[in-house]
């Protein structure tokens, strides 16, 4: 019985190793782009360690926001290369994980999934980014809380309303945290305002929205 198991396991190991040709340095790359970066680029290096050329059949990404390119279509034995994955950050936040699926004619590794993880720094956390009142509701102020990340200390916040129908008041509550009170002048008509929130000494602008909806008043 022991011989059977050993033979079975050995045959699997031999099958797998005998045909492994395209060897990847790493199939997962973690990137930490800076706040101003528009793209995060991951390099997935490989080498053909086999005795036959390997051909790329397709390179597909999991998201329209990511483009991937192989430098060549054919990888001769012993040759090195890389797949470059470019992730367009856009206005994404937090940790983003995108995959690149590589198909080759290596019968033992037809498909390889490469993972690109980008940790996008978030200077301000704004909660909520939307405040609203029902039409006719008492025009009491509503609050937006802004928290600055530890690595991006903020001393002052400048808040501007695109509409004079809303007034804003900023108050620092300590520990890099601010409170923005938004108060509509009246709630009889449907109006909306974009609030621009900008830390002092920063070019980056953040947004929130205030609106009087057509919904019945919330008591």
């Amino acid at each position: 019985m022991k011989t059977n198991i050993f033979a079975f396991t050995l045959s699997i190991v031999v099958c797998v190793t005998a045909h492994a040709e395209l060897k990847w340095d790493q199939t997962m790359v973690e990137l930490h782009p800076a706040t101003a970066d528009k793209q995060a680029i991951g390099h997935f290096k490989y080498q053909n360690t086999g005795s036959k050329p390997v051909h790329f059949k397709s390179v597909r990404t999991s998201c329209g926001c990511t483009a991937a390119q192989s430098q060549k279509e054919e990888v001769p034995p012993g040759e090195k290369g890389e797949i470059t994955a470019t992730f367009n950050i856009g206005e994404r936040t937090g940790t983003q994980v995108k995959t690149v699926t590589v198909e080759t004619d290596d019968p033992e590794h037809v498909t390889t999934v490469l993972t690109l993880k980008a940790v996008i720094p978030q200077q301000l956390e704004i909660t909520p980014t939307f405040v609203f009142w029902g039409q006719g509701e008492a025009p009491k102020p509503k609050t937006i809380v802004v928290r600055a990340a530890k690595e991006f200390p903020v001393k002052h916040l400048k808040v501007t309303s695109s509409s004079p129908d809303f007034q804003t008041k900023v108050e620092e509550t300590g520990n890099g945290q601010f409170k923005i009170d938004i108060e509509p002048k009246d709630t009889s008509k449907q109006v909306a305002s974009t609030l621009t929130i900008q830390p002092e000494d920063s070019q980056k602008i953040f947004y929130a929205t205030a609106r009087i909806t057509n919904a019945p008043p919330i008591q």
């Binding site: 994980v97 939307f130 947004y207």
Partner: protein
């Protein structure tokens, strides 16, 4: 003979667990590119259609795909231009409405991300992800 076979099968099963444990330890903090969505936050095309005018359709696909075709009345909201597009969604939103977010197909992740941000950042209630996305909506139209 029979017990020998069972014994061998058990040993092989234990072998099979080894790489599983290895992956669980090595990738313990790895985030799946497809974040799981609870069933209660998913909606089928047939169900969403019954909501009629009470539903706001949000297209999470890239601009070019939205421009090519979209669910009638849908508003575009993708993460490439989140700050610019979000006010359009909020302008048509009201508390009694349900929000249905879709992307290209079952395998895309954009609708999950957009729905997550609408719930977490804008704190909108009743935000759903369309099961199967645009592809499924097209099929349900036939």
């Amino acid at each position: 003979m029979k017990s020998s076979l069972v014994h061998q099968a058990l040993i092989l099963a234990v072998f099979a667990l080894v790489p599983g444990f290895g992956e669980a330890i090595y990738f313990r903090d790895k985030i799946s590119w497809r974040s799981p969505v609870p069933a209660s936050e998913m909606v089928t095309a047939a169900q969403a259609r019954t909501w009629g005018g009470n539903a706001i359709w949000v297209d999470a696909r890239p601009d070019a795909e939205f421009a090519s075709d979209h669910v009638p009345g849908a508003v575009s909201l993708n993460e490439d231009r989140w700050n610019e597009l979000l006010p359009q969604v909020l302008a048509v939103w009201s508390p009694e409405k349900k929000v249905v977010v879709y992307c290209s197909s079952l395998s895309c992740n954009a609708s999950r991300e957009v729905a997550r941000r609408l719930r977490k950042e804008a704190q909108l209630p009743n935000v759903f992800v369309l099961k199967g996305g645009w592809e499924e909506w097209l099929k349900s139209k036939k």
